[in-house]
Symmetry: C2
Subunit: 343 residues, 2 copies
Amino acid sequence: MGPRAGDEERPTLEDVAAFAGVSRSTASRALNDDAYVSAAAREKVQAAARDLGYSPNQAARSLVTRRTGAIAVVLSEPEARLLDDPYRTAVMRAGYRELADIGRQMVLIFSDTREDLSRTVRFLEGGHVDGALVFAPHRADPLPKALRLLRIPVVFGGQAAGIRRGVHVVDFDNEGGARLAVEHLVAAGRRRIATIAGPQDQSAPIDRLAGWRKTLLDAGLDPAELAEEADFTLSGGANAMSALLARRPDLDAVFVASDMMAVGALRTLDAAGRRIPEDVAVVSFDDNATLAPAMDPPLTSVHQDPREQVHAMVETLMQLLDDQSLKPRQHVLSVSLAVRASS
Amino acid sequence: MGPRAGDEERPTLEDVAAFAGVSRSTASRALNDDAYVSAAAREKVQAAARDLGYSPNQAARSLVTRRTGAIAVVLSEPEARLLDDPYRTAVMRAGYRELADIGRQMVLIFSDTREDLSRTVRFLEGGHVDGALVFAPHRADPLPKALRLLRIPVVFGGQAAGIRRGVHVVDFDNEGGARLAVEHLVAAGRRRIATIAGPQDQSAPIDRLAGWRKTLLDAGLDPAELAEEADFTLSGGANAMSALLARRPDLDAVFVASDMMAVGALRTLDAAGRRIPEDVAVVSFDDNATLAPAMDPPLTSVHQDPREQVHAMVETLMQLLDDQSLKPRQHVLSVSLAVRASS
DNA sequence: AGCCGATCTGGGAGCGCTCCCAGGTGTCGC
DNA sequence: GCGACACCTGGGAGCGCTCCCAGATCGGCT
């Protein structure tokens, strides 16, 4: 077999250079638009790249630059929770968009089991990505601490489990959101305002519960017997509502820490013959685009924008990438109240 | 400055080899458990790797092996649809799991705009991934055809837009699912069975509509005036239901091509004072874990398992990876009917 | 005319890894 | 006792790219 122009092979930079009649170095400079390339050379190279259908080998590039152009988005959460949590879906989507907009690739990582932890750590330190956006809401989650030992730039979405300081965090104002919700109920004349709190092993639900309590106290109302904890699921919300009704049949409003639990609560209230919002007003948290407006009646809910959170996280991470000594800070995003028929 | 053991630097294979007192080649063999390494050498190397906290540089590895270990999962769908489609969430999750189980990394790609198309193509041909699982349901989507020109192994989830043959596809039996649903309604004594079909620019809804029609004809029933097309959204479902009721007030059942549209239909039926299932029985498609059982009444729905689909897709892709000449085939997965109170 | 700096170019080195090949050691059979 | 054949090891080459450095060219200035 004689020498053959391998059309099976992908063209390399060397091929492009030869085709354009310049050196590999010049070709590289032209394609990465470095300074000090003549206009003529640049054009010849770009034409050659186009003609040959050249696309650079990323492995070779990142071997020498020590940059991959990829950013990991890590969701550390039990499987069950993820499947039915549209907020996470929105986060993935937003992550993709925000990263794509700055020319970076998102690598999505789910991490919930023990094996996942070590695999995730191994992956992140394997040099596959330049940095990571991490969502690890559970207090007991070992991931954030494990990540600390790695020298990879990380920004957390929501509080990082078990770490109080020294990390970059972009969080929502959960307590402020709860305050908005409860103040809205108080203003509407409600006086026996219960709450269905989320799992108290996570910062966000803890803060929401605290916001509810403080706002009640500020309004001169008594929170006693009016709080019930549930697990963020529909049935959990339904059961918690039953418990609340049994304990305080006189309640006239309920602040539920998530849309999904609110759906369950709605069902229980309906079964108990309570009219919404006449007998019991309902306000929830998340303002999930699928759920909240689709309920009967549509839910008043505290709105948090995933795109906004991810945008801030990406911004911080990019700063961190070109200045590793950037001072860690807690970035708190404000939330708003979407008022609908349930309150 | 004298020579310093750089503890800032990541150890390389050479470092591990030196530490273990063997050559780079032996170290490589030991870590990749190749044949022909003595047990003693293997242990020394593994200990050294552990002690130094070594993790291989993937860029260097894939530069020579021409494998990245990563697989792309491409979701080509308008943004709005993705955000509120829990089936896609489940697909992402299943993709991650299935790929992780065989030691591969998932790289998730959303592609819906024009710019996304070229970026996606560029990315896939950039050698970032070894293959791709692609979901591109819309008939007009240019992505599948663009992918054909690339020499990258691809398996489609659901029909590939505009391509009838020569590609690997794992699809559900949409027509059979519709048949199950309608036969169930017929068996329950329903005779005027309407349908709210999905967008007829996609294979799946087309097949579901066809299944509905054929089953009615087989049962000696007349489909005339009983079909209405909608766009897979809640409000679309609600409007279609209104149209059907206006045209055929005597209908006694409706087969809806998605859970989300069924929610809208339920709302319209409720507002029209129809009892479910007494006056009108409702069966939908998807059996979305969040939606279908959560409705009032809970929805009877055709169940399709995303994990099963993705599993089959991964299996096919792996075969394709070590035998590029694998004959393309259409793999059709069966579906089942989850019967609940709405029918 | 001579020099200096700015602009442009090509070649060499090397990123960290895998693979090939040459060579060394041990074991078995005749 | 010696070839044949396993088993095991180390060195070299090279994947495709970027970066550094030396050199070439060209103005514009003294």
